[in-house]
Symmetry: C2
Subunit: 360 residues, 2 copies
Amino acid sequence: MTCLNVQTSTNQYSIFIDENIRHETDKYLPKTYSSILIVTDEQVADLYLNDVKESLAGRSNVFHTVIKNGEQSKDIDTFYQLQTKGIECGLDRRSLIIALGGGVIGDLAGFVAATFMRGIDYVQLPTTILAHDSSVGGKVAINHKLGKNLIGNFYPPEAVIYDIQTLHSLVPKEIRSGYAEIVKEALIADKELFADIMDAKLSNLTTTMLKEHIFRGVQIKKHFVQTDEKEKGIRAYLNFGHTLGHALEAEYGYGSLAHGEAVAIGMLFAMEVSNDIYSINLPVDILVNWLRANNYPVHLEKINTDRVLARMKSDKKTVNDQVQMVLLSDIGNPVSVKITDMDLQNYLKSFLIKMARDRK
Amino acid sequence: MTCLNVQTSTNQYSIFIDENIRHETDKYLPKTYSSILIVTDEQVADLYLNDVKESLAGRSNVFHTVIKNGEQSKDIDTFYQLQTKGIECGLDRRSLIIALGGGVIGDLAGFVAATFMRGIDYVQLPTTILAHDSSVGGKVAINHKLGKNLIGNFYPPEAVIYDIQTLHSLVPKEIRSGYAEIVKEALIADKELFADIMDAKLSNLTTTMLKEHIFRGVQIKKHFVQTDEKEKGIRAYLNFGHTLGHALEAEYGYGSLAHGEAVAIGMLFAMEVSNDIYSINLPVDILVNWLRANNYPVHLEKINTDRVLARMKSDKKTVNDQVQMVLLSDIGNPVSVKITDMDLQNYLKSFLIKMARDRK
């Protein structure tokens, strides 16, 4: 059993990482609760809902609700529908919400918990690699039709119970999506981890490797969120690759390009911009080759540059109408930099040309 | 100028109370902001929006949005519409929302601020007596169709700028509604204030009296929210009169009975229950007479007892399906008490009979 403790401004919570611990969910809950609502999606419900419910058999008033898979569920309608469910199940201020699933479930159910009667406890049970990132740090949100994660709170969970065994049911696209965030964590904080991952083939991961990579990723994430819970400073470094990533995700329609796949392209872009601004030579080629070898979509279909620019500008990190990008002065040395619209446009255009050329 | 400082778990904010200070809004804003969105309603916009905009003439990127009057606007649709407005105006994490209006505007715009990009600053400019209560303490929320204030956050403002002069535009119903909350504050904390108000006639209030009553009400509110920001304990005493009050408000349809009018009846009920449980003799008659003399609706039209009970049970204070009521063991001595369904039903029935009998 691996356990990490995260200190927040108001509380402390533990992240438990091990195989098969979903069967022991009950043991890891920090308190007794008047009632529990498990929020999950159709796909995860089929696989793991019964395991979790069985582990809670000794508790009373355990309810569950199953929503549709996919980013589309992170919307205001599903949010309201879950509030209704909570009220109808009789949840009160001493109740618990369990988010059983990937990042969509964690963000959505977490935001429901954050706002239900002005905030009740919730626990994350991540079932994807990507969720190693989103389940730690207390960022919860839903999407607005004009942008991702625009409506939300900072609201830490009471615990994260991470059953590595659930990751074996992931399809390759989801593995790619999750690994992109570990690559991100490596790039902003851990040269060795970056090298380790560049040596790994995603289709041949052992459980030991997976556990090790996730543990190191979570450690990095923990460091940043603990130092800067409300993203006033260094926490923003975790957005490396996300300025273009979010814009591409929205441009292609949420779900068609997986979050991490979009972030992977965003990281390449941020590395190219970094190379130019700092006259350095970050290993873009090594990363591109690794992404290709692992079937990441690295060539972009014809995209509307102006619209992508507009989307980058509507990002939450924008201040005074100027895009703030996270760059690297070296691996492990992130920097937050204001980029003018003109520069951004030029960088984006040459990046797109390069990505199209390399494609041939 | 009267100024009170409120300490929160993460911050501190000031409450400024004086005549005509809406014209000096700029002076009381604690920071510079990248942009400002003033949220107000049709009625208040006609009266005071220009004054506030003029006082901000030296600032750039000042926008405003006007929503419909009334409790109906505190819904999920208006909430989402305001998020859209914020995005369209280009608000970012260093922007400010100004809530110019009564409790509906404060709760709604405050909750928008609390969740816009996971939380931006907001300032309250209350324009009703009732809002002396809601603008202090950082409780923000919207209504769910199944209950009032069920979706929200604890999220303190950066300042409260209370221009007493705006209260002269209030209609009698709004004055009644606001004074009920001051009476509540008096009953849970200040015998002298209670006596002072019982001597006052709402149609003959002087500015000095109004300012004094509001100041003392805000002081009491401040004491409770500062000691217990997240309502884990004594803050709940501020809900005195609200268990039945909220249920009646919902039962009659939000808006038909003003919030404070409903709370006034709720206080009578809580006092009757207190008298029975503690074998005491709280001045119910004095309060009933004062309410009548000031045209509060104290007789209830035929109501469905079962439905009102069900509504009382869906209250946020309910724990383990048992209603928690705030009672008084004496004026200034509130107590939180669990009431069984059976007792609640009996108390409610005899209260309704008494209210019907007294009516004749």
